[in-house]
Symmetry: C2
Subunit: 365 residues, 2 copies
């Protein structure tokens, strides 16, 4: 059977390995597995969310209120924007998909950093668009501008990942706003702020404000409940932009794109400031330990504004490191598929990080 | 901002009204609202699923095992096919989306019944494809063939809804298999079997067997956990086809397209035969009461192979009926958006149906 030819060029996203796989393949007990591969919240599900999920368990048969009224009201209040400037997605991934399907096509180009979140390229290729990347692996806005100016008529979407997954660096908000002003109003600038809560906790200059983003004619803010709010398994994200952009993207949103429990979990998580605060404090206290470990062991790393840290290696190969750690029951993220000899490690709780340091030291000896 | 021009032609799916809306707009207590608008299971969530969901509530932070290993194994065993012939979707809706994005484009056409599930057209238009519909509102395979033969080079996807939502009729499986043999191997025939469990309970001749469908080079079976398995709010569906088709569609599947609780719920629901059996028995016992009610009140109806029945009216207008019922706290589905003066009613439990008959009789007086 013949399929649309853009499919020939598509490869699937390589997801972090699940605990179940380690159990299946290495016979390690699930409770002994430490998963620091997918930037999930190391504190697990917050108690308030867990209770809320138990309460709505009986409603699995009911489609959610597709207006997402209460969740949108909560987000609108938090960000100081109106509900009409919001769209809810099955993870912020889905808003990336909507943005690309609304703007990109076979005649257009999509611009992104040298190494950045893999789904930008995957979704872009589904539209047949051409991919442009900066030579720098990390975000370099002058390179972005250079490429943009050379292909102005072609580039329809630009992705900035703030902070950048899987590397961890983050551009200042002021620089981002200045950058958008240099971009034609007909090119959509997507500000992927999946980890921005972490960045702004470390340095307020990194905070991208949805209330600022909606003032632009051509920018959208993407947020997620997967990281700071610990709802990775629930798939809830959102976009904030002016009503014209939200209106267009909403046409691509199928009904019931998040589940009934996900909707409840997101509403409850949004009010759980204490949990988010605890997450942030642990994250950067423990991040310091990773930086110290790297320095002590001569490992190069990228200063991170996220809930992970990326270690770069010369020798040995990152795949060998990850494979050896996996056999010890510790799942890390090999960045080989990003063409890097690097390992991305989610910042865990102290006891998890202790195990990582212990085993990694052994392996690198 | 300029968007891809196919967006101009898109309208959103009009979802059934949620209970929350009736509470908000009419001030009716949630527990007094009867929702028979979205073909949800009237028995609610099965006890086994509810317990399983409570157990996994603590795992909301964890992404699911993206291989969906256990769920696929369960489905493979049930249907007598291999796991490689399966793809999991966020509802069967998402498999409809994958099928269309893989096959349809601006140069192609998509063929469907005169009145059928609205998402076929919505997703098809996202690819820029042209929509062909039979003149008959219900499925008429000779009309399908006629249109197909007249536009053979153009039509890339054909949808058969078995049984048909929102009308309820169902073609025999033998007729369907014969039909596929008349279709070129390069045109994908999508057999949407979201309600097929109901059809085959009523009449075994309606059973579409995934193990038969995989033998075709150009057909895919779509199933869902939303109806018979009572997981509407969890968004889990699946496709079964030969490995070539599944391979192509899998390229469009983003990671973690169902939630962690959804995965667990589907695995548990799949083993809950007793619950499905109870659902089926109630459905057709109560369906008989709707048929009797219709005959007693001179209402025309379509004999239904689903968990709903569609009443056709001359006078009054279906919108007026639905609006009046809504004010009584009973949510039904107006089919005005399908250009029909008809109301689709989900078959409820006896006490819910009692209320419907009582109020509807009043309104139609």
């Amino acid at each position: 059977m013949k399929f649309n030819d853009f499919l020939d060029d598509l490869v699937n996203y390589e997801a972090g390995k699940p605990i179940e796989l380690v159990v299946r393949e290495f016979g390690i007990d699930a409770k002994d597995v430490i998963k620091l591969a997918s930037n999930e919240n190391p504190f697990g599900t917050s108690k308030r969310v867990e209770e809320a999920l138990k309460e709505v368990a009986k409603n699995a048969h009911l489609y959610p209120d597709d207006s997402y009224f209460e969740l949108k009201e909560g987000l609108a209040k938090k960000f100081g924007v109106t509900s009409k400037k919001l769209i809810i997605g099955s993870g912020s991934d889905q808003i990336i998909e909507f943005a690309l399907h609304a703007k990109a096509n076979r005649q257009s180009g999509v611009l992104m950093a040298g190494v950045t979140f893999a789904m930008y390229e995957i979704y872009a290729k589904q539209t047949g668009a051409k991919i442009y990347r900066t030579k720098s692996v990390e975000h370099n806005l002058s390179e972005f501008l250079e490429i943009y100016n050379a292909h102005k008529d072609e580039i329809s979407v630009i992705f900035l990942c703030l902070p950048n997954n899987p590397l961890g660096e983050c551009i200042d908000a002021d620089e981002v706003y200045k950058f958008i002003k240099n971009i034609d109003e007909n090119t959509l600038v997507v500000l992927d702020c999946a980890y921005n809560e972490f960045a702004k906790f470390k340095d307020s200059k990194k905070e991208i404000k949805p209330s600022e983003v909606v003032k632009f004619k051509n920018a959208i803010y993407l947020g997620t409940f997967s990281k700071a709010y610990a709802l990775g398994g629930m798939r809830v994200g959102y976009g904030v932009a002016n009503e014209e952009i939200i209106g267009a993207l909403s046409k691509l949103r199928a009904p019931f794109n998040i589940t009934t429990p996900s909707l409840r979990a997101a509403i409850v998580a949004l009010g759980d400031d204490e949990f988010v605060q605890k997450t942030m404090q642990n994250n950067f206290e423990q991040m310091k330990r990773y930086e110290d470990f790297a320095e002590q062991n001569g490992i190069e790393f990228i200063p991170s504004y996220t809930n992970f840290i990326t270690f770069k290696f010369n020798e040995p190969k990152s795949s060998q490191i990850c494979e050896k750690m996996l056999k010890k029951g510790i799942i890390l993220r090999d960045l080989k598929s990003y063409a890097l000899n690097a390992v991305r490690i989610t910042i865990g709780q102290a006891w998890q990080n202790d195990r990582v340091f212990e085993e990694l030291e052994q392996i690198l000896k």
